[in-house]
């Protein structure tokens, strides 16, 4: 019964994947980069799957809450299918054909529930731009069967009115923040609080997954490192004592030496 619903949704999923892929292809991607880094996130509670890419089983018994990859996929169109573990591809429970993978991007393919609770696949393009030194990036994605939410850090809303399947992000000082998720505009906590260690130079992507109705809300996290940049400089001296030049005293000695020379020469010349 659920499976038929999944099949019915496959077409819609394919369309949305192609749409997002097209948008990415239009945005500025380096011309030389022909392949993309693709991670797969499993955000559908209770259903382990096998993942097929272009008809080839790429992930076996992929568990809810797990993150796989990144796979390096050349720019192009891909057929992606999810089956129950061990089942043949023609019995796929979720299928996306001709999903466009643009070149030079970092993408997360997320299998998750829509706001209404239907399984789907949503591609997200990950912001892998360099961070300022000392900073970390926090990206929160609403991929749960739940209404709009606010994300709070230290009790204060940082992302408001986030809906499925959207994301919010911010670059913050690296460190630990205590975060929770509340129903938008309320103090009703639906997730957390959880301590998030935001490591410098990395993007931490937190997915809200599961279903509020079925009481299966949870979080899945993915991190992308290597986004750090170097400090602006290393200022480490203000005294001037280490200047390689001669100390002032030596100039006096040199002057005295010249005087002696001049005096001696003059005496000789007078004779």
């Amino acid at each position: 019964m659920r499976i038929t619903k999944l099949r019915r949704l496959a077409t819609a999923g394919a369309l949305s994947l192609v749409a997002v892929g097209g948008a990415v292809a239009l945005s500025a991607t380096p011309a030389f980069a022909a392949s993309s880094q693709v991670s797969v996130v499993h955000g559908i509670p209770g259903q382990p799957v096998d993942v097929y890419v272009n008809g080839k089983r790429t992930l076996e018994n992929f568990q809810p809450g797990d993150v796989a990859g990144p796979l390096s996929l050349a720019e192009g169109d891909y057929d992606i299918a999810l089956t129950k573990p061990g089942e043949e591809i023609d019995q796929a429970i979720l299928k996306v054909d001709n999903a466009a993978v643009p070149g030079g991007a970092n993408i997360s393919l997320v299998a998750h529930l829509s706001a209404q609770g239907d399984p789907k696949i949503t591609p997200f393009v990950n912001d892998t731009s360099k961070l300022d030194p000392g900073q970390a990036r926090l990206i929160v994605r609403h991929t749960a069967a739940a209404p709009a939410v606010d994300v709070r850090a230290g009790g204060k809303p940082v992302f408001e009115d986030l809906t499925n399947p959207n994301e919010a992000k911010a670059d913050l000082a690296a460190g630990t923040v205590s975060a929770d998720v509340v129903l938008a505009g309320t103090d009703t906590v639906v997730l957390g609080p959880t301590d998030l260690n935001l490591k410098e130079g990395t993007a931490t992507i937190v997915y809200a997954i599961g279903s509020a109705e079925n009481d299966t809300l949870d979080v899945v996290a993915q991190t992308i490192d290597g986004l750090h940049s170097s400090p602006g400089g290393v200022p480490s001296g203000s005294g001037g004592r280490a200047d390689a030049g001669l100390a002032a005293g030596w100039y006096a000695v040199a002057a005295m030496g010249l005087l002696f020379l001049a005096a001696g020469t003059r005496r000789l010349a007078v004779r």
Binding site: D66, V67, T176, Y207, V219, P231, G237
Partner: protein, 224 residues
Amino acid sequence: MSIASQGAPRWRALLPLLAGIGLLTAVSVAACRSQPAEPFGSPAVTVVASSEPPAATAPVRVRKGSVPTGEAETPPARLRIGALDLDAAVAPVGIDAKTGDFAVPPSVDRVGWYRFGPGFAATAGSIVIAGHVDSADQGEGAFFRLGRLARDDKITLSDPSGATREFRVVARERYAKSSIPLDRYFARDGSVRLTLITCGGPFDARTRHYRDNVVVTAEPVPAG
């Protein structure tokens, strides 16, 4: 009589000449010795080809999508350099929020470890420690003589539990601050190395800044 009277003044004239030559020689020697030592070596960094696309047949890495907890790097606690008679406390430091620069500890007898980069137990990348060469109000700093380190000089790093790690100097370089390749020294990949940074070169008394950075690179000495 006349010969003797002629000889004495001549001898007296030679004295200031010799004194003058002596003093100028001393100045020349001092000038030569004060020249900054020539750089040597270049950090032998074998950069690990990072994020190499996995072969088509390689199994895809799968992780639990658990929320990252703080598996912090082990901070180095002390830095010892026998050749410089240096034994300094190491403080974990980050970025000066106002300037975006390395937050070198204000106290000149401490040195600062860049806590966002590789730590004491690093298996890859550059462990960076920076210290003052001097300061206007505190005098000579821990790294005052860093520029005199020679090839193969030993450096010992220890962690808070007292475990030690030995390094040997492979390079000493000097760069204008405007052109120093910081990305190389703050790299988090490639072979493990210890990078010590301070200031050097000509000092601008008006801005109270040195023009250059002195960088010493050391490689781990294989244990045993």
